[in-house]
């Protein structure tokens, strides 16, 4: 009853193609934006920011990136961790060399650098498909991490091999480094994510997004229609890596503050983001957010329930967490392989009919 399209007629194609054609959807999104930008900052504290909000937002950005490549374009990638590293190391070098450009341009630049690297490692996709492509991305993953570990230039020849973010300011407020202002950090990251999520949605529903999905669904038929696989696949790699690179830059500079390549960006990171888009929903912007929220919140919830609630020993809790992740992955794949986003859509369908059964 509440969620119905009845009475909402569109008089032209422009309205029909709006981002949120159903009025109720628009209100929900506006409400979410309101909460995000007006209410949460007031309730913010350091713990919430660092343990939940920042990782959620940053991983959502990375999940958006991977979803573009794997969800929309169907190219499986296990190299997300390494590409985040590219973004992180790019922004590190840029911050130490040309900080005058300003933080936001530097993040965007690191995204562009990552896009270039991603396109390069995406070249094999023109010959290789499916699992085999996953191997190519694994090559990227292991090679790049090795590179960042070995070549001193990347970490400015520092003895430990770690990179640390120097303090940067935005409009006069410090946003990186130990003395950064939490609210400022939040606004920066939330703003970034909101803007680029919008861009992703726009691209996905336009010509380029359709071409990606065509390649994913039936690449031969797509080619015969005139979709050029080269352009489609490489553009997917490029845009995806752009997003993942920026996520990596923010991950290092704003959230972690310092990072070491093998710990922060290893293959487990790649799996983590992959799980986010599977659980959240492949080929869905909303799904990227839902999946990121789920995978960020779950360990925290589990730890709270087990260690604080039941008094479980921490090591045991860690093992149980691993098992739970595995079981949930399998469970999700069985119950709804299209993820939380599909469940949400089904829920909306039911809401259209409520309180009637059918």
């Amino acid at each position: 009853m509440i969620y119905r399209e009845t009475g909402q007629f569109k008089a032209n194609y422009q309205d029909d193609q709006a981002l949120f054609p159903i009025a109720q959807d628009r209100y929900v999104v506006l409400a979410v934006l309101l909460v995000t930008f007006a209410i949460v900052p007031l309730l913010l504290n350091q713990y919430w920011l660092n343990a939940i909000l920042l990782p959620f937002l940053i991983y959502a950005l990375a999940a958006l990136g991977l979803n573009i490549l794997t969800g929309y374009c169907g190219q499986l990638s296990l190299g997300t961790g390494a590409f985040m590293a590219v973004g992180a190391f790019s922004v590190f070098k840029l911050m130490t060399v040309i900080p005058e450009l300003g933080f936001i341009p530097l993040v965007i630049l690191s995204g562009l650098i990552t896009a270039a690297v991603g396109t390069l490692f995406g070249l094999p996709s023109l010959r290789i498909k499916g699992f085999y492509l996953a191997v190519a991305t694994l090559a990227a993953q292991f090679f790049l991490i090795w590179l960042f570990n070995k070549v001193g230039w990347f970490f400015n020849y520092n003895a430990t091999g770690m990179i640390t973010s120097p303090p940067m300011t935005l409009f006069g407020v410090i946003i990186t480094g130990p003395s950064a202002d939490p609210v400022a950090k939040y606004y920066l990251v939330a703003g970034f994510v909101a803007v680029f999520a919008l861009f992703a949605k726009n691209i996905a529903r336009g010509r380029i997004g359709r071409n990606w999905m065509a390649i994913r669904d039936m690449d031969i038929a797509a080619e015969l229609i005139g979709v050029r696989p080269l352009i489609a696949k490489l553009s997917a790699f490029a845009v995806s890596s752009f997003y993942i690179g920026m996520a990596g830059a923010l991950y290092f500079a704003v959230w972690l503050g310092s990072a070491e390549p093998t710990e922060a960006f290893d293959i487990n990171q790649s799996f983590l983001v992959l799980f986010m888009i599977i659980i959240g929903g492949l080929g869905s912007v909303l799904g990227s957010f839902l999946g990121a929220a789920f995978m960020v919140m779950m360990p925290i919830l589990l730890k709270n329930i087990m260690v604080d609630g039941l008094g479980t020993d921490a090591a045991l809790a860690a093992h149980i967490e691993i098992i739970t992740v595995g079981v949930l992955i399998i469970g999700f794949l069985i119950v709804e392989p299209h993820g939380l986003a599909r469940l949400w859509r089904i829920a909306k369908e039911k809401m259209r009919l409520w309180p009637f059964p059918h």
Partner: protein, 264 residues
């Protein structure tokens, strides 16, 4: 009956031979298709009909022979080049993009008409938006033509078989092709659906002037619709001519058509 405006030669296939390993799929095939005509390709299963279409499309590359399309001769061309030169097609085993809606599938068919780059697409204003709307209108014209308004937002994977075939036709038409290759468009349909599809094929030819090459097994349809018929069997060319000629050709009867029960 078939009073069509048939023009000059549009496609000429010369001595095409295609093999996969030691398996010879097409053996020295030569024929032409004239502008504006409806040409059928018939023959038993495995005769190489779909492979012939794939060669024209640029998907299979023949070992020998050449194709001349609109005056340009080439041994082979990349599929997207064939598409951009005005060749579109449907497939035997429906190759729709199952993850997308009817409208999106047809809009994807408009892909070659759309050009705005990534930057404008991300912002979705100005040129990108205008282009999207313009092509939406074109897609809607096709949706009206094929009478599929009711299912335009439905994911095609959920549609019944007959409707999927119609959507696939729509996607091919969206590219405004000069040559339309239809691979068994009526397979698996009942007689009502077949009539509808026949009507669409004829309309496409008469309203848009599209040249059509058609693979089909229903002889009634073939004889009624076509201007000329090509018969293939085991990769070889058996006959090529007017429907009546082909119907009475002894080789064709032996290989494929058979004879009515009374005469047996």
């Amino acid at each position: 009956m078939n009073e069509r405006n048939v023009g000059g030669e549009m496609l000429k296939v010369e001595n095409i031979s295609l093999s996969f390993g030691i398996m010879k799929v097409l053996d020295d095939i030569s024929f032409d298709i004239k502008q504006g005509e409806i040409r059928s390709i018939i023959g038993p299963n495995g005769a190489g009909k779909s492979s012939m279409l794939n060669v024209i499309n640029g998907f299979y590359h023949p070992q020998q022979g050449s194709i001349t399309f609109k005056g340009e001769t080439r041994k082979q061309m990349a599929p997207h080049v064939a598409a951009s030169h005005g060749i579109a097609r449907t497939f035997q085993n429906i190759a729709l993009f199952k993850g997308m809606s009817t409208l999106d599938n047809i809009m994807t068919g408009r892909n070659l008409k759309m050009k705005t780059n990534l930057f404008w697409q991300a912002l979705h204003i100005g040129p990108a938006r205008a282009e999207e709307l313009e092509n939406r209108e074109a897609a809607e014209r096709i949706i009206d033509f094929l009478d599929i308004q009711a299912i335009r937002k439905k994911p095609v994977g959920k549609l019944p078989y007959g409707l999927q075939k119609r959507v696939e036709l729509g996607r091919a038409l969206a590219a405004e092709p000069e040559l339309l290759l239809l691979d068994e468009p009526m397979a698996g349909m009942n007689s009502e659906e077949k009539e509808d599809m026949c009507r669409f094929v004829l309309d496409v030819n008469s309203e848009f002037g599209t040249t059509i090459a058609l693979i089909e097994h229903d002889m009634g349809v073939v004889m009624d619709l076509s201007d000329r018929v090509l018969v293939l069997d085991y990769g070889k060319q058996l006959a090529d001519g007017l429907p009546d000629e082909v119907r009475n050709n002894q080789d064709v009867i032996d290989a494929y058509l058979g004879i009515p029960h009374e005469q047996a």
